[in-house]
Symmetry: C2
Subunit: 134 residues, 2 copies
């Protein structure tokens, strides 16, 4: 595991052999994609959900920067290459049946293309009115 710095924050990555082992273990859906939950390591906010194919996962693991497969554009999408709003990998886990990914990142700027901090800020359906009782 190696660290590099950007924006004063470390990102974590794997060497190519270790990354390939993770890609081999992941269970991609019939369409070749794995859903990836992106969570802020700074305040635990869930920022967005994206999708990775095997190569996007491999790049994410080896570069320490999140790369998705864009279903709408049909191309690799390294988050922030256009906007500057990059996602630096800090922690990453597969779930219990290896068909979903949790990526904890340091997010530079807003995560959502709308300019909202989180993609889930845009369309709230049920909003908590009060804190839970102890």
């Amino acid at each position: 595991m190696s660290d590099f710095s950007a924006d004063g924050h470390p990102a974590a990555s794997l060497d190519p052999v270790a990354a390939d082992a993770v890609v081999a273990r992941a269970r991609f859906a019939a369409d070749g994609l794995l859903p990836a939950i992106i969570q802020s390591v700074d305040d635990d906010a869930v920022l967005m959900l994206g999708y990775m194919n095997a190569e996007a996962l491999r790049r994410t693991l080896t570069e320490g920067r999140v790369t998705f497969w864009s279903r709408s554009r049909g191309e690799y999408w390294r988050k922030g290459d256009t906007s500057g709003h990059i996602q630096l990998v800090r922690e990453l886990a597969l779930d219990c049946d290896a068909d979903a990914l949790l990526v904890r990142v340091h997010q530079v700027g807003p995560a959502c293309h709308t300019g909202a901090r989180r993609c889930f800020d845009v369309d709230p359906v049920i909003v908590s009115e009060t804190e839970a009782p102890a």
Copy 2:
């Protein structure tokens, strides 16, 4: 929006008309499913990723308890009916293009069928070694 209590914690739900409007707005994938990220409202941990079809989403919204569509079993799966490890809805949001759901819940007991608190505790790939520098 109405509240009910279980385990001393409120859950939030919508009336059937409001729930139907949300179901109509959601963009289910070609397989009829919407990915739902389940996050603890108590400590912001991401617990699991599940899938809902339209009816599972409608039930979740009206009952205030999370119901998934089980892809492996091909049936509705109201979380906790067998294990007791229910998920009470506290907050819910669609994302910016309405094709993913974030459900913030009070989780009773562990979320994962392995007994782990989170499905993402089982297979860590990259673990943060240190806190980010200020």
